[in-house]
C-alpha cells in the first residue's frame, strides 16, 4: 500500500511540524511575549522567504563546512580505528591519549583553532572534524575488537593474512557498531561548524545568527536556525540511508514481501 508508506514518510513529520507551529503560536497568544523575544511562526516563515538569498549564501558556506568536516572526521576516525585494531603498540600509546583528549572542552578549542588557522573555512571544518572524530574512532575500534571468535577461527583456517582478516572479517563485522557512531557524527557535525562560526567568522549561518541578534532581527535569527535544523535532519537521514545501502542485510523487517 503505497499511500500508507507515503503517509508514514511524509505525512507524520509534516503533522508534527504543524503541531509544533500551532503550539508555538498558542504560547505567543496566551503569554503575549514580545516579538523581539519570540517572533511568530508566520514572521519566521516570512523572514525565510524575504531573506532567501542571504540565507542561501550563508547556508551554502555552513553546508560546505559540515560536509567537509563530516567526511574528514569519518575518514580520520575510521583510519584511527583500523590502525588501533591492527597495531598493538599504537593501542598502548594512542588509546590513553585519545581518552584524555575527550576531557578537553571543545568550545575552548575553537579560539585556538581560530588563532592558528584564521577566520576562513579551515577552523570550522576542523572543529566539525574534531567533534565527530572520537565517536567514529571509538565505536569503530570497539566494533573491530568485538569480532566473534568463531569468524576469526574461520579466517585462520582459511589462511588469511592479518590485513585480509582486518578488512574482510573485522571491518564488516564492525559495521553495525560503527553505524551508530556515524549517526552520532551526523548529528554532531553541525554543532562543530556552528561553534566555529560563533567564535569568529565573516560568513555562515552561525555568523548570520549572531549578526541578526545584534541588530535585533530576531525573525531572521530564527529563520537561520530553521535552516540549520533542516540541515541537521537531512544530514541524519542521508547518513541513515547511506548506511542502509551499505548494510543491505539489515533491511527493514516491516516490508512484507521479501
Amino acid at each position: 500500500m503505497p499511500d500508507r508508506a507515503l503517509w508514514r514518510r511524509l505525512g507524520r513529520p509534516l503533522l508534527a511540524l504543524a503541531t509544533l507551529a500551532a503550539i508555538w503560536q498558542l504560547v505567543l497568544t496566551l503569554t503575549g511575549v514580545p516579538r523581539y523575544i519570540l517572533p511568530s511562526p508566520a514572521a519566521v516563515a516570512n523572514a525565510l522567504f524575504e531573506h532567501r538569498g542571504l540565507l542561501a549564501h550563508h547556508a551554502a558556506i555552513t553546508a560546505i563546512e559540515i560536509v567537509a568536516g563530516l567526511i574528514g572526521g569519518i575518514l580520520l576516525g575510521l583510519t584511527t580505528a583500523l590502525a588501533l585494531a591492527r597495531f598493538r603498540a599504537l593501542r598502548r600509546t594512542l588509546l590513553p591519549l585519545l581518552l584524555i583528549s575527550q576531557a578537553i572542552p571543545l568550545f575552548a578549542l575553537a579560539p585556538i583553532l581560530m588563532l592558528w588557522l584564521g577566520y576562513g573555512l579551515g577552523p570550522k571544518i576542523l572543529m566539525a572534524m574534531v567533534i565527530i572524530y572520537f565517536p567514529v574512532a571509538s565505536t569503530g575500534y570497539d566494533g573491530l575488537r568485538q569480532t566473534p571468535q568463531g569468524w576469526l577461527d574461520l579466517a585462520r583456517t582459511f589462511g588469511l593474512s592479518r590485513r585480509q582478516q582486518l578488512l574482510k572479517v573485522q571491518l564488516p563485522a564492525a559495521l553495525p557498531a560503527l553505524a551508530s557512531g556515524l549517526r552520532m557524527a551526523a548529528s554532531a557535525a553541525p554543532i562543530g561548524a556552528v561553534i566555529g562560526e560563533w567564535v569568529g567568522a565573516s560568513q555562515g549561518l552561525g555568523y548570520l545568527m549572531l549578526n541578526a541578534n545584534a541588530r535585533l532581527q530576531i525573525d531572521l535569527m530564527f529563520a537561520a536556525l530553521v535552516v540549520l535544523v533542516t540541515f541537521a535532519v537531512l544530514l541524519y537521514f542521508g547518513v541513515d540511508a547511506a548506511l542502509r545501502v551499505a548494510m543491505p542485510w539489515q533491511r527493514d523487517r516491516t516490508t512484507p514481501d521479501q
Partner: protein, 247 residues
C-alpha cells in the same frame, strides 16, 4: 591427492595449574572418521583446536605429524557448533566465503558453490540472506562452506549439537555421504551420533586424561537407527562415559 592420516605425537594442555592431558598420543587413520568423546571440560574441543592450530587461552603444546609428511596447513577445513554464517553475505556468498575473504570469487567458485548448495538441498535459497533460514538449513550451508574448501582433513567441533534431533539425523546422512573419503575428526557429546558416524571412537577420560578406544557397530556409515548392535554399544559407551565421573 589422497587424504593424510594424522599422528599426534605429544599433546599437552594445562588449564591454570591443572594438567588436562600430558604427552597424549593418538593416530587418526587416513580417510577415516574418528569421533572424540568426553565429558565437559575434558579438553576434547581444545585438542581439536590445537590440531587446527587455532587460538587457545590455556597453556598448550602439540607435536603433530601427517602420514605423508607434508604440512597440514592449507589442507584442513573447520566446522564449529555455531554455523558461523556471516550476515553480510547471502547464502551463496557464505558457501564461497573463503573465496570472498581471500579476494574475489571467480565464475568457477560460484559454480562450485551452487553445486554444493544443490548437494545439501538448498539451491533455491542461494540468494537469500542467512537470517531467513532455519537452524538446520544454516548448518547445511555451513557444511557446504566446509566442503567448498575441498580439504582432505575436516575437523568438526560438535557441528550438529545445536539442531533438533530429527534435523540432526538428516545432517548425519548428508555429512557422512559428502565427507566420505576424507580424514574426519569430530568432537561430539552425543553417543548415538558417534556410533552412527564413526569408524573409530575415542574417549578422552581421566585426569590427566588418556584416550580410550571404544568399539563401534559393524556396517557402513551412517549406521541406521535399527542397527542391531547399536543399543548394546550405546549402553557400553554411556557406561564408560559415566564411569569416569565416579572415578
Amino acid at each position: 591427492m589422497p587424504p593424510p592420516g594424522l599422528i599426534v605425537r605429544d599433546a599437552s594442555l594445562t588449564f591454570g595449574d591443572r594438567p588436562l592431558f600430558q604427552a597424549l598420543q593418538a593416530r587418526f587413520d587416513a580417510g577415516s572418521w574418528t569421533c572424540l568423546l568426553g565429558r565437559s571440560g575434558s579438553g576434547k574441543s581444545s585438542l581439536l583446536r590445537m590440531i587446527a592450530s587455532l587460538r587457545l587461552p590455556d597453556n598448550h603444546h602439540l607435536v603433530l605429524d601427517t602420514s605423508d609428511g607434508a604440512p597440514l596447513r592449507g589442507r584442513l577445513a573447520w566446522m564449529a557448533q555455531q554455523d558461523l554464517l556471516v550476515p553480510w553475505h547471502r547464502v551463496i556468498g557464505n558457501v564461497m566465503l573463503s573465496a570472498h575473504w581471500r579476494g574475489r570469487p571467480t565464475a568457477r567458485d560460484r559454480q562450485r558453490a551452487e553445486r554444493l548448495l544443490a548437494q545439501v538441498g538448498l539451491v533455491d535459497k542461494a540468494s537469500h540472506w542467512p537470517d531467513e533460514l532455519s537452524g538446520g538449513q544454516r548448518q547445511r550451508v555451513a557444511l557446504a562452506r566446509t566442503l567448498f574448501e575441498d580439504a582432505s582433513v575436516v575437523l568438526m567441533d560438535e557441528p550438529f549439537s545445536a539442531v533438533d534431533a530429527i534435523t540432526r539425523l538428516e545432517l548425519h546422512d548428508l555429512a557422512s555421504r559428502l565427507l566420505d573419503g576424507r580424514t574426519v575428526i569430530m568432537v561430539t557429546h552425543d553417543p548415538l551420533e558417534a556410533l552412527r558416524l564413526a569408524d573409530r571412537i575415542l574417549i578422552l577420560q581421566g585426569e590427566p586424561a588418556r584416550l580410550v578406544s571404544m568399539p563401534v557397530p559393524e556396517g557402513p556409515r551412517p549406521r541406521p537407527l535399527d542397527n542391531s548392535e547399536l543399543p548394546q554399544r550405546q549402553a557400553q559407551l554411556v557406561a564408560e562415559l559415566r564411569e569416569e565421573a565416579h572415578a
